[in-house]
């Protein structure tokens, strides 16, 4: 059973602020599910804070590695369905420092749609096939008669343009 926090200090809040987005980004890559990624944040942060409170982190100078390892193992458990995550995540939230609220700023959807329209048709097709249709690089290359290397170059250049565009630059 999860215990309430023994102490809620600035240090814990700072840890949460520092690692929440890193854990969430990891979760999005490995779980492909925004809700799952947010659950992962709560679970990992609580596990790390509990280990810190209990003095179980043997080498504090390798704290980042401890967080990363915890994150990797919990994401693996979630993928295998070994964590009944929703209940645990809700309980984990109660064990995090008071005043800590994760923030997930979203990309402005209208702006993103505008930026997508500004892309070249082929670039847009590669981006949509990758992230909306969930096709892998080889599948996209096959359907668009491009080499896998070409798909990768088109994709990362298109994403760089999109990123600049959504941040207010030019597509």
């Amino acid at each position: 059973m999860l215990e309430p926090p023994i102490m809620e200090d600035e240090g814990e809040r700072a840890i949460c602020q520092k690692y929440a987005n890193r854990i969430r980004a990891y979760g999005l890559r490995h779980l492909r599910d925004g809700e799952g990624a947010q659950d992962l944040v709560q679970l990992v942060l609580l596990a790390v804070l509990e280990a810190r409170r209990a003095g179980r982190i043997e080498d504090p100078s390798r704290f980042e590695s401890y967080v990363f390892g915890t994150c990797r193992n919990m994401a693996m458990d979630m993928r295998r369905g070994e964590l009944r995550r929703r209940n645990l995540a809700e309980r984990a939230t109660a064990g995090l420092p008071e005043g800590y609220e994760p923030e997930w700023p979203q990309v402005d959807r209208a702006r993103l749609e505008h930026c997508m329209r500004e892309l070249e048709p082929r670039d847009r097709a590669v981006v949509m096939a990758t992230f909306v249709e969930d096709l892998d690089t080889d599948e996209i290359g096959h359907s668009m008669k491009l080499s896998a290397g070409n798909v990768r170059v088109i994709r990362h250049r298109a994403l760089a343009r999109l990123q600049a565009c959504v941040q207010g630059g030019e597509a």
Binding site: Y19, F68, Q106, L112, M144, Q163
Partner: protein, 179 residues
């Protein structure tokens, strides 16, 4: 905070997000991101962009994506549309998404492109390599409620590439009622 001496290149972050890195390299990059403030910011920015893209509903849907949207609870109104025959579609309050099912013989198509054309004949936007179902001869156009702000109903102009030759499949007209 000192700057990262060896920032992860943007293309590597992209390859990480698409699963294109070898497992050992992916693990090494991910561990670095956890320990590096600069790279964590860059990774988070990309994750937010990719997350935003994943939430988009593309103007042309594959049948698999349409099925996933329906399975998630999206309420879809399908409107069959034949080339050159005007159709009507009403965005009733209980509908989340209009899907116009453009029908044609696409059995020999290697690739399908779509243009959105203004009533005056100007190409407003071109989509290449759009999803299509060769067997059923269908291209699925997704129309969202906020498209009302785009003004006049566009003409959907479909082209098919067959054995290296482009063929004009037809123009499709849908009159939208937004209420």
């Amino acid at each position: 905070m000192s700057a990262c001496p060896k920032p992860v290149p943007f293309e590597t972050l992209v390859a990480l997000s698409t699963g294109d890195l070898a497992p050992e390299e992916a693990a090494s990059v991910e561990e670095h991101i956890f320990s590096c403030d600069d790279c964590a910011v860059a990774s988070d920015r990309l994750a937010r962009l990719v997350g935003g893209i994943r939430e988009l509903i593309p103007p042309v849907l594959s049948h698999a994506l349409r099925d996933r949207l329906v399975a998630k609870g999206t309420r879809v109104l399908h409107t069959p549309v034949e080339a050159s025959i005007p159709a009507r579609a009403r965005f009733a309050p209980e509908v989340d998404l209009l899907v116009h099912v453009l029908r044609a013989d696409l059995s020999r198509a290697d690739r399908v492109d779509l243009e959105l054309v203004t009533p005056e004949g100007a190409v407003r936007l071109r989509f290449e390599h759009v999803p299509f179902d060769a067997k059923t001869g269908e291209v699925l156009i997704a129309c969202q409620r906020h498209f009302e702000a785009m003004g006049d109903d566009p003409i959907f102009r479909v082209h098919a590439l067959e054995s290296g030759e482009e063929r004009s499949v037809g123009d499709y007209f849908v009159h939208h009622e937004w209420r």
